[in-house]
């Protein structure tokens, strides 16, 4: 059949009519397009290492999903952007949503960025799953009852767990307590939670000094000297960036670690840098939601750790689990909503509704989403040992706790909840 100008115009008009009737045809078209997931994670600066852990875990998961047909039959594409300052990250979030047209945004490690971005997420009505960065401060004011935002477990979970394990292991063996914590809401809240739980259980204690180094301070010799001067029986520290191994090195050099009980709920973020030569045995050490050497880990977690070691010559920490949990939750929610709609592609609201109450097996153990869009996950902490094949410390004895035992229930005030909570340790 010859192509005439009239026939060409008629065809073009037909295409226009079909395109305009998107409501009828879009599910089929959407199902053929790749699913785009935007990732916002730090790739430089002091949080680059956890950012990289999260990105790698997401890439690992997406490769597996794509090899098995993707999510709900659609291949997954990642669009990765940097998490940096709140202002710049908000701009990149808008770019992901408006220009890149991603179906879901995942990532965010910084508490400050998370708080600033929360209201923007709600305003943009874009499904977003945070990996980390949820402290008590400012959340109620800035992100009350989020619809589109799903947040990580409370940052204070690790402080609650280490406080309980401190009491369990060392009750009656310490009186003077010192703190060295990063000078922002995470560090402040962790220390406050530790002291609140000691008070809750009537543990006789006296805080002799509290040090608040700025995040990333690399000369901590004066802080170490101040801690030493206070002669504490126990040091509580939620240092977690590159300054943590520096502190341990300088504390060890000053003899501060000898005979002092050490409680470090967030040390797992730097676990491979916590070398045996300056990190003592018997220190309470938090691996948060992923302990790479957990002998009770699932086959999935063991496969991931082996892949990570082989591919990156390194061992993953908890941000890898948080990232995996985010992408695995999204997959499960999409497929649950898809099944509920009899195979037609679900709307974003359908996916959000499917997320609530969802329970999945993450790398670090069981995880679930509460009705207030906060995660529940499995935490691991224990006492360090040098008895391993690595040049850094691992855990000798350890405990796993599900965050229902560590996290305030939906709607509760954290500080009031601590006063009356029934802890299961």
């Amino acid at each position: 059949m010859p192509v005439t100008r009239r026939r060409l115009l008629a065809s073009a008009a037909a295409v226009g009519v079909v395109s305009a009737s998107g409501g009828v045809f879009s599910p089929a078209i959407a199902q053929n397009k790749p699913l785009r997931v935007g990732i916002l994670a730090p790739r430089s600066g002091i949080a680059a290492a956890p950012g990289l852990n999260g990105i790698r875990a997401t890439q690992w998961a997406v490769e597996r999903y794509n090899a098995q047909g993707g999510i709900g039959g659609r291949k997954v594409e990642l669009v990765i952007e940097d998490e940096s300052s709140p202002k710049d990250t908000i701009e990149r979030f808008s770019k992901l949503v408006q220009q890149e047209k991603v179906d879901c945004v995942q990532g965010i490690i910084s508490t400050g960025v998370g708080l600033a971005l929360g209201p923007v997420v709600e305003e943009s009505r874009a499904l977003t799953i945070y990996w980390d960065g949820t402290t008590q401060d400012g959340v109620d004011e800035k992100i009350p009852n989020p619809r589109y935002l799903f947040r990580s477990t409370d940052n204070e979970c690790e402080a609650v767990m280490s406080s309980l394990l401190t009491i369990k292991n060392w009750k009656g063996k310490f009186v003077t307590v010192a703190g060295i914590n990063p000078d922002y809401s995470y560090g402040r809240n962790n220390m406050a939670a530790f002291v609140a739980i000691l008070k809750r259980f009537n543990i006789d204690h006296r805080v002799v000094t509290e040090q608040w180094p700025k995040v990333g301070t690399m000369d901590l010799t004066s802080h170490v000297a101040a801690l030493k001067a206070a002669k504490p029986d126990l040091i509580f520290s939620s240092l977690l960036f590159a300054d943590l191994p520096v502190f341990m090195k300088q504390a060890h050099a000053a003899g501060l670690t000898e005979g002092t009980k050490l409680v470090f709920p967030a040390a797992g973020w730097q676990h491979t840098l916590m070398k045996k030569e300056f990190t003592p045995e018997g220190m309470l050490f938090g691996h948060n939601t992923l302990y790479f050497a957990n002998p009770q880990a699932s086959p999935l977690a063991k496969e991931f750790v082996a892949w990570y070691e082989q591919t990156h010559k390194d061992y993953p920490e908890w941000e890898a689990d948080r990232a995996y949990f985010a992408i695995a939750s999204y997959k499960a929610a999409v497929e649950k909503a898809l099944a509920a709609k009899g195979g037609s592609w679900p709307s974003q609201d359908d996916i959000i509704d499917a997320m609530v109450g969802l329970s999945i097996e993450s790398l670090g153990g069981k995880g679930a989403w509460r009705k207030d869009h906060i995660a529940d996950q499995t935490f691991v902490q224990g006492l360090t040992t040098h008895n391993n094949k690595y040049d850094f410390v691992t855990l000798g004895t350890f405990e796993s706790l599900y965050s229902t035992d560590l996290q305030k229930p939906p709607g509760a005030n954290f500080w009031e909840w601590i006063k009356t909570a029934q802890f299961n340790v």
Binding site: R43, S44, G45, I46, A48, A49, L52, T209, E210, Q211, W212, K214, G216, T217, M218, D219, T221, S222, H223, V224, A225, A226, K228, A229, K231, A242, D243, P245, V246, K249, Q250, H252, A253, A254, G255, L273, K275, E277, D391
Partner: protein, 293 residues
């Protein structure tokens, strides 16, 4: 008493490293009249390169005991970056100070990307060696010998620089150029050669400081900007262009920081900048600087 000694030791160690960077800054400003914001980058470069250098040195069988001299060598080796950067700065010698500040700040940012490209975004540190020289202990007082050696190195640099500037012919020529560039040129001094030497010396002071500090800490992308701010506090307190001022300013900043951390940690930065503000109000030229009026 031992608490006081521990704080003093920590403060003096911090001051020693600060002095090395601030001395480079002072030298360059004193002679070239350039406020070099990139001095923090030299410090960071020294730290990163020091880690790489020690890594290779260990592969070639270097004894752990040679850590300190090896780090000093690594800092000195970086002197080669001085002449080309100084050559670039010649374009702004005769222009407004704001151009000089903008150019050196641009260098600072460019270096940060170079560090990211070469060494990656993650902080880097030396795995061992910090305690190879042992620790001095007396009651509750303890101080790694390495820290003491760094303080000794800073004192040696201060004495050496002082001697070089005051007692050698080249030092006199440097001072003459700083006093009156036109006169020095009229007397046959190759001013640009002097500038190149001075800038290289300033850069080497920064790179050596960075290399020396790395066994005790870590190299990170932010360290350049963090340190340049403190170095400028030193310069403001001591007086711009004064070597004695750099020494006094570094000691004041190091000790104030140490004691405020002990007495009231919240005041760590406030205490330092209160002094900076006081100096700017009551003695704008700094403790050892010469008034421009």
């Amino acid at each position: 008493m031992s608490a006081f000694a521990n704080i003093l030791a920590g403060g003096v160690f911090h001051a020693a490293v600060l002095f090395l960077v601030a001395a480079g800054l002072q030298l360059v400003f004193g002679v070239q009249k350039i406020v070099n914001l990139a001095c923090g980058s030299f410090y960071a470069l020294g730290a990163y390169f020091g880690i790489t250098f020690i890594g290779y040195a260990h592969q070639f069988g270097m004894s752990e005991w040679l850590l300190l001299p090896a780090l000093i060598i690594s800092g000195l080796l970086l002197g080669f970056i001085g002449p080309p950067i100084e050559r670039m700065l010649r374009t702004v010698y005769d222009r407004d100070e704001s151009f000089q500040l903008l150019l050196t700040f641009a260098l600072l940012l460019m270096f940060q990307d170079v560090f990211k490209f070469v060494w990656g975004a993650n902080p880097r540190s030396l795995d061992s060696g910090y305690l190879i020289y042992g620790t001095i202990r007396a009651g509750d007082f303890s101080m790694p010998v390495y820290n003491l050696l760094v303080i000794a190195a800073a004192i040696a640099v201060a004495a050496g620089l002082g001697g070089f500037l005051k007692r050698t012919n080249y030092g006199r020529i440097l001072r003459a150029t700083a006093e009156n560039r036109a006169m020095a040129e009229a007397l046959g001094v190759d001013v640009y050669r002097i500038y190149s030497v001075v800038f290289t010396l300033g850069a080497v002071l920064g790179t050596t400081a960075g290399a020396l500090v790395v066994p005790t800490a870590a190299a990170s992308l932010d360290m350049a900007i963090e340190f340049v701010i403190e170095a400028f506090a030193v310069v403001v307190i001591g007086g711009l262009g004064s070597m004695r001022g750099a020494l006094a300013g570094a000691l004041i900043v190091g000790l104030i920081r140490g004691f405020s951390i002990l007495l009231y940690p919240e005041l760590e930065m406030l205490a330092i900048y209160l002094i900076v503000v006081a100096v700017l109000i009551f003695r704008p030229a700094g403790l050892f600087g010469r008034s421009l009026a």
